[in-house]
Amino acid sequence: MFITLLREWIATPLTHSRLFQQFTQQDFHAQFAASIGGFLWLFLTPIVHILIYSFVFGYIFQIRAPAEFGQTRFVIFMMIGYLPWFAFAEAMGRSTNLLLEKAPLITKVMFPVQLLPLTGTLIPYLTHGTGFVMLLIYLASQGLLSAGWLLLPVVFFFQFLFTLGIVAVLSATCVFLRDLQQLVALGVTIWFFLTPIIYPITMIQNPTIRQWFLLNPMHNFINLYREIVLLGEVSAINLQIIIPVSVISYCLGGWLFIRIRHAFGDVL
């Protein structure tokens, strides 16, 4: 079982690198080249969201970044969490349709289907990762750059693995249960508000409840980004949580996907 997982799930992007590349290009093409706005549309949503949240929470509710982050403006504080979150949310949102929209291909051509969740996760991470990098460049120019930033790609990578595992499970399950499409959209919204992105976790008074937030991997990821970027330091507890959680998500998701992909041809 382990060998199969290794070969079919982990090694496939390497053994079928050409096809992987083709799929990624195809996806990019579908998103950008087909419409006039192209790239603009992609960034419009996060930009509008950021503007709305800064207005509502920063201006109306007067939420401030917690004192430990010093004089950081709320917008910056929120964006550091929001941009990586948006990559995650978009990958989740697209996951339910990944296999369904490729049904003609899956039922007519034999190819490694497991490349599809990978591409589906990679695209939002690439595009919104770019947005995140642009923010980082701005912050670096503001003098926040530190050696700790070298950890950022590592954390981002683990977030990618974590997402990929969930996307694999969702995309495969959605072939059988199409109702999942609606549920996932709802779930992502709930998850968003349960993750301290537009509010600092310090606003939660009860320390027991605050402990429970550690169970939310996305909170751990976002806290890490904020600490690394704004303070140049890392909470060990967050790292200790995200590394095993990401690896388990990636492997378990892959295992499940490989197990049930044989049935795709029958159902699609």
Binding site: L19, Q21, K108, G265
Partner: protein, 417 residues
């Protein structure tokens, strides 16, 4: 002689589809672990092996399960029961341009398709020109494939699938789209494929292509193998089946009805009249030119049809008839003495106790395929009232090359001007 290893081996294959009345039933079934589906048996008990370098044709009426079998061979579907062992790289052309991206140019789709088939990148670059040349797309190769005609689509798809030189090529009905010139090219290409000892599995409604390209054919009927064997023979039986509305077996049910009178060969025999025991056919036989009884006839060969008649009443005058029958109600050809003068054939009167043999020599049998019967009959003077008819055993035509139901004597000549 080199021993040929089966490159495709299918053993005891069954494939069921689960039909759910409502999509949510699938969910309930998973949750409650109680079956909520209806099983639909697409394929049952399929076993065959294809040796390396041989090609297999799959024929059958629509919905027989041909495409499902091809999908199973291509690995897209998994068998419910049974095993499929395929050794080697498979390229499957199951639907026209299924791997194409409509927005991309033909050239880009070559790369996309080839990578779907798992071809290394370096190889594609060298094959690219060859593929473009074969597909005859010319400048269209740089236009999006969504602008292509279906003929152009299939040309490109076929060119890619065959140029990447897989070990096994699985094709479903691909040739039916292209024009004749391209079909010819495809056949050449596939023959070249066979010459290179590659294996092909081919499904088509074009019996010509099956005979031309396949060594072996499988006839699938209602999800089961009805016949497997030499492609000429299987195609022959299949065509015969298609051209007759009735199945082979029905004649046995029809046989007792020969006791009824038939107003005329081929006419509906339902307007039954009481049998007149005036005379009877005591024997009916079909012989070759040497006088041996035969059941398998040579196409364009000669046969002698004979019946022995016993007269049971004085003064019988009558007519005789023979017919080749597909079934009790479907004649293929008929031979009657009603139009013949007394001088050409003796028509009586006969006396009680007379026993005589009526025989008819038939030359150049025109049936090319099929199983049929010979019907012998005795009629009254007018030729309208039939005393008795009798069927022979089932006869068939020896397997032979060609398509269509008929074969005709012919002579070729090519004259240079």
């Amino acid at each position: 002689m080199k021993k040929t290893v089966p490159i495709i081996k299918v053993a005891n294959l069954h494939k069921d589809f689960r039909i759910y009345a409502r999509p949510q039933d699938r969910l309930w079934e998973i949750l409650l672990r109680r079956p909520r589906h209806q099983l639909y048996h697409v394929l049952r008990d399929i076993s065959f092996a294809v040796p390396e370098g041989k090609s297999l044709g799959i024929i059958g009426v629509n919905g027989a399960g041909k495409s499902t079998l091809l999908k199973l061979l291509a690995g897209i579907l998994q068998p419910t029961v049974g095993e499929i062992a395929v050794s080697g790289q498979v390229a499957a052309l199951l639907e026209l341009g299924a791997g194409f991206h409509p927005e991309f140019s033909g050239r880009r789709n070559i790369y996309l398709n080839a990578s779907l088939l798992g071809v290394p990148d370096d190889d594609i670059a060298t094959l690219e020109q060859e593929i473009i040349a074969f597909s005859e797309l010319g400048e269209f190769i740089d236009r999006p494939v969504k602008t292509y005609s279906s003929g152009m689509y299939v040309r490109l798809a076929f060119a890619i699938a065959t140029m990447v030189r897989p070990d096994i090529l699985v094709i479903d009905e691909a040739l039916s789209v292209g024009d004749m010139a391209f079909q010819r090219k495809c056949v050449q290409r596939m023959n070249q494929f066979r010459a290179e000892l590659k294996t092909m599995v081919f499904c088509s409604h074009s019996m010509f292509h099956i005979q031309e390209l396949c060594d072996t054919a499988i006839w699938i009927h209602m999800g089961r193998i009805r016949e497997i064997g030499d492609s000429d023979q299987v195609v022959g039986h299949y065509e015969d089946f298609c051209y007759s509305k009735k199945t082979y077996n029905s004649i046995e049910q029809d046989l007792p009805r020969t006791q009824l009178q038939e107003s005329e060969v081929g006419k509906n025999s339902d307007d039954a009249m009481p049998t007149m025991p005036d005379c009877r056919i005591s024997a009916l036989s079909v012989c070759d030119s040497d006088g041996h009884a035969v059941t398998e006839l040579e196409p364009l060969g000669s046969v002698r049809l004979e019946m022995e008649v016993e007269v049971l009443k004085d003064g019988i005058e009558g007519n005789f008839g023979f017919a080749f029958m597909k079934s009790a109600e479907e004649p293929i050809a008929s031979f009657l003495t009603t139009e013949l003068a007394e001088s050409e054939v003796e028509k009586g009167p006969f006396q009680v106790g007379d026993v005589f043999t009526v025989s008819l020599a038939v030359q150049h049998l025109a049936m090319r395929v099929g199983e049929f019967y010979v019907l012998g009959g005795l009629a009254d003077k007018s030729g309208l009232l039939w005393y008795e008819t009798r069927f022979s055993k089932q006869l068939s035509i020896k397997p032979n090359k060609g398509v269509g139901t008929l074969i005709m004597e012919s002579e070729w000549s090519v004259q240079r001007k």
